[in-house]
């Protein structure tokens, strides 16, 4: 079984672009949630979202390329290119059949779908002959391959809010079991559109605490009232530890475990049993003991149901020790970027291990008796090892009852 290292990181989020800026903002407890400006919000109950305002498409694409790419592809390509550059992967390492791409996305090219449907149904918006290649779910992963010349397996998966975590987990296993040598893996989503905002409104799961937007998302707090929709992309470069050492690459962390389950119970209600099993399977896959887990990066959406169910799942797995493990939700700052969130949160977990700093859960105000773990609400905290090595979990749970859990470690023996 081959060991797999994280050697490149690309991040585009509502709190900034790039690993250093994003993680610094998270450690400072800065929110990226703001009032929606791009479209008419007068009929909405939720008027805020997480938009990647620092992302400048023109830094990556010329005018013609921009017209060819849906926003989700722009975010994904920019994050993938940044990750490849961060990993110092030159063309020789990418331009081959042993390097693949797996991207998770919940909504795909939603903006392009809406633009075309607007033109089709009521003459609003502009028709284009390339609506299909812009809108198709695999546009992001395919455009990454075209851009970076990766010729290995190119896969798009969609498991709602666990897409990004499933993508990284599957990519990790492909390298571990010898199917590929390197993978570009992660998630991207750009779902902040008029139609999607309206559809979420009718599901009544978005926070309506619009004022001020940056305080809306309150994971695990008794007065939480839902999640905040956002966009973003998080992409990693994965390769074997041996190849990373040979070429002297910086190793952020080692990915050691992946567990995925389906609740098989309800299309939207979470089930702590399925979630707990995903965590257990990830721990078994990683061959770590529960005592070694020093931090949990929670799914922590701030919906009534998720936060209770996730808390229950952690208690099922860790027993009385669950209360001693720091658990934080960076969705309190980034909002919920759907298919990107699992990847962005895995990256935050890796950076927490590397820097030994835990990003906090902000906006926590009132204790909820059903959410009684240590949610790191006072601000960033030092990440302390509970065993010889630091291991941490990143949880992602999605509509459909999809659960994906990743385990990373930063033990000293992996650095070259």
């Amino acid at each position: 079984m081959r060991r797999v290292a994280v050697t490149g990181i690309g991040l585009i989020t509502p709190v900034g672009v790039g690993r250093e800026r994003v993680f610094q903002a998270l450690i400072e407890g800065r929110s990226g949630i703001s009032r929606i400006e791009g479209f008419d919000i007068s009929a909405l109950k939720t008027t805020m979202s997480g938009i990647c305002r620092d992302f400048r498409p023109e830094d990556f694409f010329d005018e013609r390329e921009k017209t060819r790419l849906d926003r989700v592809s722009q975010l994904a390509i920019a994050a993938a290119e940044s990750a490849a550059r961060d990993a110092r992967m030159d063309n020789g390492l990418l331009d081959n059949y042993d390097t693949g791409v797996i991207i998770g996305t919940g909504f795909g090219g939603q903006e392009s779908v809406e633009e075309y449907c607007g033109a089709y149904f009521n003459g609003h918006g502009r028709r284009t002959a390339i609506a299909i290649p812009k809108a198709m779910y695999n546009a992001a992963s395919s455009n990454i391959a075209i851009r970076l010349k990766t010729r290995g397996p190119n896969i798009t998966l969609s498991t709602a809010c666990s897409s990004g975590a499933n993508a990284i987990g599957q990519a990790f296993h492909m390298i571990r079991y010898g199917q590929t040598e390197r993978m570009i893996a992660g998630g991207a989503d750009a779902p902040v559109t008029p139609v999607v905002m309206d559809a979420w409104k009718d599901m009544r799961v978005l926070s309506t605490k619009n004022d001020p937007p940056e305080r809306a998302c309150k994971p695990f707090s008794a007065n939480r009232d839902g999640f905040v929709l956002s966009e973003g992309a998080g992409i990693v470069v994965l390769e074997t530890i041996e190849s990373a050492r040979e070429r002297g690459a910086h190793i952020y962390a080692e990915i050691i475990g992946y567990g995925a389950t389906a609740d098989a119970s309800h299309i939207t209600f979470p089930d702590s049993e399925g979630e707990a099993h995903a965590i257990l399977r990830a721990l078994r896959d990683a061959a770590v003991q529960p005592e070694e887990i020093a931090y949990v990066n929670a799914h922590g959406t701030a919906t009534k149901l998720n936060d209770i169910s996730e808390t229950e799942a952690l208690k099922k797995v860790f027993g009385s020790r669950a209360r001693e493990i720091p658990v934080s939700s960076i969705k309190s700052m980034l909002g919920h970027s759907m298919g990107a969130s699992g990847a962005i949160e895995f990256i935050a977990t890796v950076l927490a291990i590397e820097s030994k700093k835990i990003p906090p859960t902000i906006n926590y105000e009132e204790a909820d008796p059903q959410c009684d773990l240590d949610y790191v609400t006072e601000g960033a905290r030092e990440l302390k090892a509970t065993a010889a090595r630091i291991a941490a979990l990143s949880n992602s749970f999605g509509f459909g009852g999809n659960n994906a859990v990743l385990v990373a470690t930063g033990s000293n023996d992996i650095t070259a």
């Binding site: 013609r64 390339i130 290649p133």
Partner: protein
């Protein structure tokens, strides 16, 4: 009437190509080749055909599009369709 009636067919074609391919209108002349000179590909050709259909209210048959190589090809192609319509 539409602007197309006032402008020449060539003017409208040049405007569409300049907008679709994000190039300056000044660099376009009748012999400008969409692929060789402007780097267009088959997807660009489809979008240009769509814009031509909208602007001139014509239907461009599938097999006409690959023949749209230069500006003058397009202008004469559009003129043919316009005369067929009359």
């Amino acid at each position: 009437m539409t602007r197309g009636a006032v402008q020449s067919v060539e003017d409208v074609v040049k405007n569409i190509i300049a907008a679709e391919l994000r190039v300056s209108r000044d660099q376009l002349n009748p012999e400008t080749h969409l692929m060789k000179d402007l780097g267009a590909d088959s997807l660009d050709a489809l979008n240009i055909a769509l814009r031509l259909e909208e602007a001139f209210r014509i239907k461009i048959p599938d097999d006409a599009i690959p023949k749209f190589l230069t500006i003058s090809d397009i202008v004469s192609g559009v003129n043919d369709h316009l005369s067929e319509r009359q």
